[in-house]
Symmetry: C2
Subunit: 129 residues, 2 copies
């Protein structure tokens, strides 16, 4: 099997690209994470979002601990071939490790960041803290 | 005036963060570009998207040549403070330098990338080729 399509991606010097996940039903932007070649290949093969965790330096199947899997409906790439966009169904309705629907919950208002979205589930409950 | 909010951003080693722009009316994801501190400060001050061009190594007001300005309605940051999300009105309805509505026009289908969105305006016309 050929992997030409993986060669088309312009990986950065660390072998990564940023990948945005957008909820298919609401079109809300959930997360921005990073993928290496293996993560993108597994995402395409399994239709579940896989990322590269830069902090843990390991491949990571989104939701592997929380159950909050991202089922992938569509994979897109941008004009410069250095960014990925996933259209996903976010299982459990929670994409963020803080227990919020999505990671982009801080809004700039009058020169300060404000958390403007509720915690839907206690992270200790999610991760069995 | 204090710039605490700019200090809260976790800039990468190059002093940049990825910034996603999403069309406010349709919620379609238009672009992923990069911002340095000055780009984000100017974006917040002027309500027009500014980015850092990595290829040209200069600050760049989106639409400065094409007129396809992004008017910013909202600035968001993610949980890790290392990604930005802009909600914008895309002037002219074209965000991509290829003349398409948005940069994410390549879709992965059966192991290959396919351009699945039309060119709305010839780039030569846009940029006065």
């Amino acid at each position: 099997m050929t992997h030409d399509w993986l060669d088309r991606v312009r990986w950065n010097l660390d072998g990564l690209v940023p990948a945005v996940a957008q909820e298919a039903a609401t079109l809300r932007v959930l997360t921005l994470a990073w993928m290496n070649r293996e993560a993108l290949a597994k995402t395409a093969k399994t239709n579940e979002a896989h990322y590269w965790s830069r902090s843990r330096a390991k491949l990571w199947r989104k939701g592997e601990r929380s159950g909050h899997v991202q089922r992938v409906r569509e994979i897109r790439m941008d004009c410069d071939s250095d960014a990925i966009l996933l259209l996903v169904d976010q299982v459990g309705g929670i994409a963020c490790h803080t227990g919020r629907e999505r990671c982009f919950y801080k809004r700039l208002d009058e020169g300060a960041w404000h958390a403007v979205e509720p915690v839907l589930k206690d992270p200790d409950t999610i991760y069995g803290g």
